[in-house]
């Protein structure tokens, strides 16, 4: 039998919950294996950089974290908008679940960038267009989290969050193109769609493997948080009751 997968069924929190339980062990395994491979290549295979010495090895987490910070914001705004337009509860929950992970990756991009900037630029921080717009991204995430959690009415909170998230999307192209639009201390794009990568194959491989590891990690942790939010919102639903009975049996 070759039945097509009906994706919309996963919009029901109960089905979403079960799907995540099946997916997450795999996502964690993939994240761990890819991270180990990335670290192995990044620290034991990739050679020392001719100009930056070994300080460049921060790139293997810095660039993936910065990419994730932007991609997760777009995902958050997308699901917040879907939740708003179609009144889809799971979509709004996903948007809320994405925010803390996005904030964390933004913080990590800033932190690792700071630890890379000190030895190479001689300063932990500079009010450069790239760094400043990334800091604004962190404030957008924190603002979204504060806003949605400050409104008791769930649906109104989701709507207010969607408005904030959508307005904030303007910051994403600003971050991305900041190194081109302004004269920044931050270097240009490491990888672009149009030009050949400006880095050694092994370095590029380690960075890409770490990016996929971060992707798997983000999916797993966001899904877990979305499960928690679904349980909170639907605490008196039949599927949650069934889940509790099952939990008691297992103990």
């Amino acid at each position: 039998m070759n039945q097509p997968i009906r994706w919309f069924t996963f919009a029901a929190p109960s089905r979403f919950y079960a799907l995540v339980n099946a997916l997450n062990p795999w996502l964690w395994a993939i994240a761990l294996l890819l991270a180990i491979a990335a670290l192995y290549i990044g620290f034991l295979v990739a050679p020392t950089d001719a100009t930056q010495g070994d300080s460049y090895r921060i790139i293997f987490i810095h660039v993936p974290a910065a990419w994730m910070s932007m991609v997760l914001y777009l995902a958050m705004a997308f699901w917040a908008a879907i939740g708003w337009m179609f009144n889809a509860r799971m979509a709004s929950m996903l948007a809320r679940a994405l925010a803390p992970t996005g904030a964390l990756f933004t913080f990590l991009a800033l932190w690792t960038g700071s630890f890379w900037g000190k030895p190479t630029w001689g300063t932990w921080w500079v009010w450069d267009a790239r760094l400043t717009s990334e800091l604004i991204l962190l404030f957008l995430y924190l603002g979204f989290i504060a806003l949605v959690s400050s409104i008791d009415d769930m649906v109104r909170g989701d709507k207010a969050g969607a408005v904030l998230a959508l307005v904030g999307v303007i910051n994403i192209p600003i971050i991305y193109f900041s190194v081109r639009w302004w004269n920044t201390l931050h270097q240009g794009a490491t990888i672009s769609m149009t030009a050949a990568p400006k880095m050694a194959q092994t370095m590029l491989l380690a960075m890409l493997l770490m990016t996929f590891a971060f992707w798997a990690y983000a999916f797993a942790v966001v899904f877990t948080r979305a499960q928690a939010l679904a349980l909170e919102r639907e605490h008196d639903a039949e599927w949650v009751r069934a889940l509790r009975t099952k939990g008691k049996e297992l103990q």
Binding site: P47, S55, I61, W116, Q227, R241
Partner: protein, 55 residues
């Protein structure tokens, strides 16, 4: 092999503090977040049970 000893590895060509400072924060954050998310889920399940008893 790039590194001749463990000491050499941790030293990172003089950039040990920066490289390991960046990686350590990344590791701590990426262990703490899943832990917090799982705890959140557990508490949500427990809270739903409390809610049932109240009813």
């Amino acid at each position: 092999m790039i590194w001749s000893s463990w000491g050499d590895f941790w030293h990172m060509g003089g950039y040990g503090l920066y490289v390991w400072g960046a990686y350590a924060m990344c590791l701590v954050a990426m262990l703490a977040e899943p832990w917090a998310a799982r705890r959140h889920r557990q508490q949500a399940l427990r809270a739903s049970a409390r809610h049932e008893r109240v009813q």
